[in-house]
Amino acid sequence: MVKKGSSRDEGKATKQVILFLVMVGLAGIFPQMYPDEFLLHVIVVANLLAIFAISWDFVAGFMGQVNFGQAMFYGAGAYFIGFITKAYQIPAGLGLIAGGFVAVLLSLAVGIPCLRLRGPYYSIATLGFCQVLFTLSMALTEWTGSEEGIRGIPKFITSVEGNYYFSFFLLMFLLVALKLLFRTPFGIQLISIREDERLSEAAGINTNLYKIIGSAVSAFIAGVAGAYSCYFHSHVSPDTLSIGLTFSAIAAVVFGGMGTIWGAFVGAYVLTFLNEYLYFMMEYRLLIYPLAIMLILLFSPGGLLAFFKELGKVFEHGNATSAEPHKEL
């Protein structure tokens, strides 16, 4: 009788759950211990970036679709809130979800035509789409306020502490949802597309459909993040559609480790904190993100997480290689 789990695997899963709960607990009491408004603000920014970065990792790391225009979904959500709140009063929850759906619509409009594009062509096309939207947001001054953007958007949570909790809530929700997703057959099948697309097709997976769905999910996440950022900063500008923004997500993910959800989280935090706290470096701070990426890709392409994993292996086994012998042919 073939059994699925072993006690070792179950142990690993329990460890992860415990770690997660500890994290949630710490996050919960943190503001009481360090009620530093600036720090809390930075954490919200980091959380936002983490959510956005995860949305990119979802398509790029898990599905192999390297989208260089991910910012367009973030910006779509952000600008949607910007436009809507000028005209109507809507409850924030609805706004966030609606922002997500606007992004989903955009992902369909962009994604369906791009289905037939392989690898780099897909990347360039998505970069192109995003730049079109960026240019439009700069050019259509009447609607978008050009560089200045739209200001004075009413916040739905006014305190920094409130935003801290809310952003953590969003992030935790996302993490849990994704972890669960990748245990379902659908999630495993999504990953298989990245692993070997032809083989997935041979196994009966309609890769086009899955890619569209995956894209839509990723866009939804990015859209909600963008919408929330609009509420949080009370302001939306073309920056939300910029190449720089896409790059920060890519940087966070690559730095932390692609194709692992924690990588995006870790990367986002490290980069955001480096950015905010290296004030003494003044403008030179902006060089950090790209420099970090280049270094990571040269020395540890799997990102920080992979680097620590390797370190962990060295400590565990000393110089010995893996214990289990393979059965040779």
């Binding site: 790029a60 260089f68 035509p113 594009l117 360039i124 192109g128 060089l287 280049m294």
Partner: protein, 282 residues
Amino acid sequence: MQVILSGILLGGIYALMAMGLSLTLGVMRIVNLAHGVFYTLGSFILYSFMVQAKLNPFLSLLLIFIIVFFAGMICERILLRPIRDSHMNVMIVTFALAIFAEQCIHLSWGVLYRSAPPFLKGELQIARILLDNQRLLSFAIGMALILLLVFVLKKTTLGKATRMVQQDPEMAMLLGINVDLISMVVFAVGAALAATAGCLLAPLYLIFPAMGWTPLLVSFAIVILGGMGSITGTVVGGFLFGLTSLLTTYFISSAMINVVPFLAIIVTLLIRPSGFFGKEIF
């Protein structure tokens, strides 16, 4: 009519830059997202040379070509060679490089929009059309370089070796061609060509740190439209682009000038993912 001619003149220079990209794309089989930043670099260094150092424009052009050529070689050697196998990593690294360099330029020169002084002042008048001499000169230099490039590719040993690497890298390696060296040179040439295009257009348009993204996408659009490895395709594509860009500026607005190339890439990729003239490489 003036707009049309200006468009063609602009197009020639776009074609030059696109050829640089076509080389890296075709020979090294990588997507270089830093191509635009080399263009920007060319413009800014030219500005410095001409305005601050008061150097002769032609001398500046030559110097910049050499400087960027070596910069390109260094970049290739350090950043690209270790990771050349992974397309995705190359895209990310060159993307990072582009942003890094753009920030450096921002820090060194500031964000003010500037313009470089023209090499040649005055205008030429034919019938009712007025064209600046600068435009004509830039175009002439651009075309000359393209012809030079074509000559090198077709007639010299280096050029032949490069073409062999483009057609079949494994075969080329078996024949004893130093593929690594060729890759380094090709990348450097591509970068230098982009920088030269930047120099040639600097006197005509505004210079600012983020200026490289549009030319990057335009180059891609041209290469994709015109097809990989097809020189005619690239040149024709270049002209088409210059034309449509300026027509857009004229009829719609200059702010929308970017929208055209992007839409063009998108439309082309959708109709013919491998371009109209050339063959697919990925």
